[in-house]
Symmetry: C5
Subunit: 96 residues, 5 copies
C-alpha cells in the first residue's frame, strides 16, 4: 500500500454501472514527508476521506476486498485515514 494525499475529486456521468454509487477521489501518492511519488491516482474510498487527508491506498485486486467496493472494477481504494506516521521512532506526521 502507499501513503497518499487526497487532492480532489473526479466526476463522471457516463461510467460502468457498478461505479454509479461510488465517489472517485483524486490522490497523489506521497512519501512520509509528503513529497509526491506518483501524481493523479483515481481511487474509490471506504473511509469518507476528504481533500487534504493523508490516507492509505491499496492497489490491484486488494482494492476490491472491502465490502463497499466488492464487484466494482476499481484498482485503487482508500482503506485508512492516517492518524500518525512515525519514522525512526519520531512522529513525522500527525493528523490535524
Amino acid at each position: 500500500m502507499k501513503l497518499a494525499r487526497v487532492t480532489g475529486t473526479v466526476t463522471a456521468t457516463v461510467k460502468d454501472t457498478p461505479f454509479s454509487a461510488q465517489k472517485m477521489l483524486l490522490v497523489d501518492i506521497v512519501d512520509a514527508q509528503g513529497a509526491v511519488l506518483e501524481p493523479a491516482v483515481v481511487a474509490l474510498d471506504v473511509c469518507s476521506a476528504g481533500p487534504g487527508d493523508l490516507v492509505v491506498v491499496t492497489m490491484g485486486s486488494a482494492a476490491r476486498l472491502p465490502t463497499q467496493t466488492s464487484g466494482v472494477g476499481t484498482d485503487a481504494t482508500v482503506i485508512a485515514i492516517v492518524d500518525e506516521v512515525t519514522v525512526d521512532g519520531s512522529a513525522v506526521y500527525n493528523a490535524p
Copy 2:
C-alpha cells in the same frame, strides 16, 4: 485508476478470439493538468469514449470486472468519461 486522454485506435485482424468484438483504444495516462505520465496504453472501452475524451482507466484484473469485458484478456479498460476534475476545491478540467 488513472486519468487518461484518448489519442487514437489500434486495429488488428489477427487477435485472440474474445477480442474480436472489442475496440482497442490508444490512450495516454495523464495528470490532472493533462501532462502525459505514461504514453501509449492500449485499453478496451465500456463507455463509447472517443478521441480527445478525458477518461478513467482501470488496470489489472479490474479491467475484466465490467460485464462487457468479462472473459476478455484485457489488463486496461476505460470505465468512465470524465465530466469534471477538481483539485483543492477548484475545477481544473471540465468536459467541453
Copy 3:
C-alpha cells in the same frame, strides 16, 4: 495493454512443465512512434507473431485468459498483431 515490437526469442530446456509447449518471444514495449518504453519483456504468444511484428501484449493475470495459455504461469502474452495505429485521426503505423 501495451504496444510492443517483437525483437527475438528466448529458448530454455529447463523450464516449468506447462511452458514446454510454449514459444517465448522477446519484445520491447514501445509507443505509437516505435520508441522503446521498456526493453526485454518475455511474452508468450497466441497469434504466431514473428520478429519485427508490432503486437499488443497483455500483462498480469490477463496473460492467462487465452485458451492456449490457460494454466501456464505467464504474466505477459501477445494477444494481437497490429494492422494499424491511428493517432489524432491519422495513421502512424500500418503493417507492411
Copy 4:
C-alpha cells in the same frame, strides 16, 4: 518480492474493518546494499518485524496468502525477516 528496510509505523483509527487487527509498517524497498529503490511502502506483517529490520515484502494478491492476512485488503506484506544476503558468494548483509 523485494528486500525492504522497516522504517516506521502508520496508525489509523478510521480504516476498513478487516485492518482493525493489523499493524501497518512503513518500509523502504532497498537493494542488497541498502540503497533505497522505492520509499514509503505501507505493509502488513506476519513476522513481528520491527524498525531497522531488513525484511522480504511480497506484493499484489500474494500479500493475502498468509493465514494472518487472508481477507484483508492488503497489497504488501512482510513475509520474512532476513538473516543473510549473499551476492556472488559473499555475505553482503548479516542480521545484527
Copy 5:
C-alpha cells in the same frame, strides 16, 4: 516475464510458514545484453537455478502457478533457465 541474472541468495529463519521449504534467490532484472533494469528482486525457483544463471522470472499471481509454489505467497518465481537469446536473428546470449 523478464530476463534476470541470479546474483545471490536470501536466507531467513523467521518467515511465513509456506516459505519454509523454499529457497529465495536474489536476481537482477536485465535486458538481452545483460544491463540491469531492476536490481534486487527476491524470487522463488522451480528450476534449481544457481548464481550466474540467466533465467526467466514470472511475476504477480503467475508466480504461484507452478506446482512447487502453489499456496506460497510469492510474487516472483524463476520458471526457466535460458539456453539462448536471439535478437534480430542473431544469438546475443548462449548459456556457458
